[in-house]
């Protein structure tokens, strides 16, 4: 028998990550066996598999717990890893392949975890393994962004751990089940999930780091971390009304940033938050239709957002940047990538016959059922907006618009295969949604393709496009400009260091023996501001060490309460 019931899916990925550095050249194709064999094994054995635990002292950790919800995400992550591995086959950098496998494995570990402590373990592994995909870009900007990223990710983990410890002290159980928002422990966990899910004001790690990762890295990043958070929200906080409003805010605010952002991968990062908003909103409604819509949309989003990130990654690989202001006319030399991008754009905009349509409409229908008219209008606005920035802006400025004179080669073959696979999935699910619907965890009855819904959606999209055409013809459309747009990260990238410097300066002035201190602090600040010009990754800087000590103190405090 080649199928085994007693193998948690993450083990397969971790084992392949171990051998990955040994495989050279064409042999790297063998890495594809990890998602292929792992996924098939899951498919063949899911009925009787599961219930693997690990005993540490008197704690029993549930490493492998299967139900329909975790199974859906399990399949999804295998598909995502398969596509991402094909996409990265040409890369000679072992770091990315090893970390990609470890990262995908951690995501699988988290969705098949049966208790909060196991979730925490994989939660932190997700944080660390994914950070390497950003460090792997090896530019000073990327290294700094990854440092910020890892601090925020670990903070989320620490909040989760603190919440779990408090919960254990209150209830004596760590079982992963419906929690609901009551009491401080659940709030800590809620905020921990909210960070990874990109709640407003907690989202900046995403838009900061994703556009700076390697082309492959961003593909991996877009697939796993946020979707694990969505999975956990659906499991622990379904039907929590506050999520409806958080979700609605998440769908709306990023589209304003996306319209004025120049870095096209950053545009996609903002639209990723926008799509997460639809899922969060669905989870907040909490009916069977809404929850199914949320997880179905997570499934589709991984594929179409992955596809869009892949096309931008292909442009980045060939051109060296993805600034909308300096692209255009690429369809002439990258025709296939252009077509793949258009398929991804149609899917994310929820055109009928593409995958976004069949899942986003479930959330919208559920909102109408609940008479949430204002939220429904917000999401409708966001639907029009997402078409505007992700559906039109991305393909238009990259591949059409004014001719930039760039004539890059078509993407490498393996990238094209990966993009083609994702594009086929987008269309297949859009045309035949039953394939996806039968995997959905809750019982429901819904047909996306009725006349009303198809017509109204096409009207919405066509007239959004008309607005784009009109604004462009009138010259009212804001031009693409190289710039930084302020976001909530301003608080920790500008205000915090600035006030920190001020406090340090004041303190050192007041001290009697301050003179010596002051000179040393200023000297140190000066050294910190000079970036290390080497390509090496400095993982733990002294500043980060302090952050970690602070985080550990937080955990210790939660033990006391």
């Amino acid at each position: 028998m080649i199928w085994t019931t007693s193998l948690p899916p993450f083990v397969v990925f971790f084992a392949f990550a171990l051998v990955a550095p040994l495989l050279k050249g064409k042999l790297k194709v063998l890495l594809l066996l990890a998602p292929l064999w792992g996924g098939l094994n899951l498919y063949m054995t899911h009925a009787e598999a599961g219930d693997i635990s690990w005993q540490i002292g008197d704690m029993v950790l549930q490493l492998y717990h299967i139900d329909k919800l975790s199974l859906l995400f399990g399949y999804l992550f295998h598909i995502a890893a398969f596509i991402a591995l094909i996409y990265s086959l040409h890369i000679k950098d072992n770091t990315q392949q090893v970390c990609g496998l470890l990262y995908a494995g951690s995501a699988l570990g988290a969705v098949f975890a049966g208790d909060l402590l196991t979730v925490f373990m994989f939660w932190e592994l997700l944080a660390i393994t994914s950070a390497f995909l950003i460090w792997a870009r090896r530019t000073p900007e990327a290294i700094r962004a990854a440092n910020r990223y890892v601090v925020i990710q670990v903070l989320s983990g620490v909040l989760l751990l603190s919440g779990a410890i408090m919960l254990y002290q209150q209830t004596g159980s760590l079982k992963l089940e419906y929690l609901g928002l009551n009491g401080s422990a659940s709030w800590l966990i809620f905020i921990a999930l909210g960070i990874k899910c990109g709640f407003p004001f907690l989202h900046t790690w995403l838009t900061d780091a994703y556009p700076l990762a390697t082309p492959t890295g961003t593909l991996y990043l877009s697939a796993f971390t946020t979707k694990v958070a969505i999975y956990l929200l659906a499991r622990m906080f379904p039907g929590e009304p506050i999520l409806i409003y958080i979700g609605a805010a998440m769908t709306c605010f990023p589209i304003f940033f996306a319209v004025i952002e120049n870095d096209l991968r950053k545009v996609l990062a903002y639209s990723l938050i926008n799509q997460l908003g639809f899922m969060v909103c669905g989870i907040g409604i909490g009916t069977a239709l809404a929850l199914n819509g949320a997880v179905a949309h997570a499934f589709n989003d991984v594929i179409f957002k992955g596809l869009l990130f892949m096309t931008m990654g292909a442009v980045l690989t060939r051109v060296g940047h993805v600034d909308g202001s300096h692209l255009g006319g690429l369809y002439k030399s990258m025709p296939r990538t252009t077509i793949f991008c258009l398929v991804g754009a149609a899917s994310i905009s929820a055109f009928p016959l593409f995958s976004g349509f069949v899942s986003k409409s479930m959330v919208m229908a559920a909102l109408l059922e609940q008479d949430q008219i204002i939220v429904w209008l917000m999401l409708l606005f966001a639907s029009a907006g997402v078409f505007h920035h992700a559906g039109i802006k991305i393909p238009f400025f990259a591949f059409f618009a004014h001719d930039s004179g760039l004539r890059p080669k078509e993407a490498p073959v393996n990238m094209q295969v990966a993009m083609g696979l994702a594009a086929i999935l987008c269309i297949a699910i859009g045309v035949n949604p039953q394939w996806l619907y039968q995997l959905l965890p809750w019982d429901f009855d819904y047909t996306p393709y009725d006349l009303t819904h198809t017509l109204t959606q096409i009207q919405l999209l066509f007239f959004s496009a008309l607005a784009f055409v009109w604004l462009n013809k009138q010259g009212l459309y804001p031009p693409e400009l190289r710039s930084v747009n302020l976001d909530a990260e301003w608080f920790y990238r500008k205000l915090l260091p600035k006030s920190g410097r001020k406090v340090v300066a004041m303190a050192s002035q007041m001290r009697d023996e301050g003179h010596q201190l002051k000179t040393s602090v200023i000297a140190q600040l000066g050294r910190r501001q000079k970036p290390v010009p080497t390509g090496t990754v400095t993982i733990i800087t002294r500043r980060m060490a302090w952050v970690f000590i602070a985080l550990m103190l937080l955990v210790v405090t939660s033990l006391i309460f």
Binding site: L377, S404, T456, F463, N485
Partner: protein, 96 residues
Amino acid sequence: MSDKPTQDGFFDDPKVVSWILRIFYLLCVLLVVADFVVHRHIYTELEKIPAFYALYGFVACVLLVFAASGLRKVLMRSEDYYEAPLNDKSDRQEQE
């Protein structure tokens, strides 16, 4: 872009573009007409407005772009706002 390649693409021809746009406008008109022909299911009062979705899509996008342009005035900073460019100009003097 020092040497600009010839304008050889399919979409460089203004005629092609204007034809595409004409077809697009025609489709938009047809969609509005369809709204009066087809009997839509109505879930909320708002949907009784003729061609509600078309109007909403158009107005939403125009407002979105105007609002975003306005936001630019508030939020836009130069590229080295958070930190000086780290790549090439390592000799650049730090402010402070």
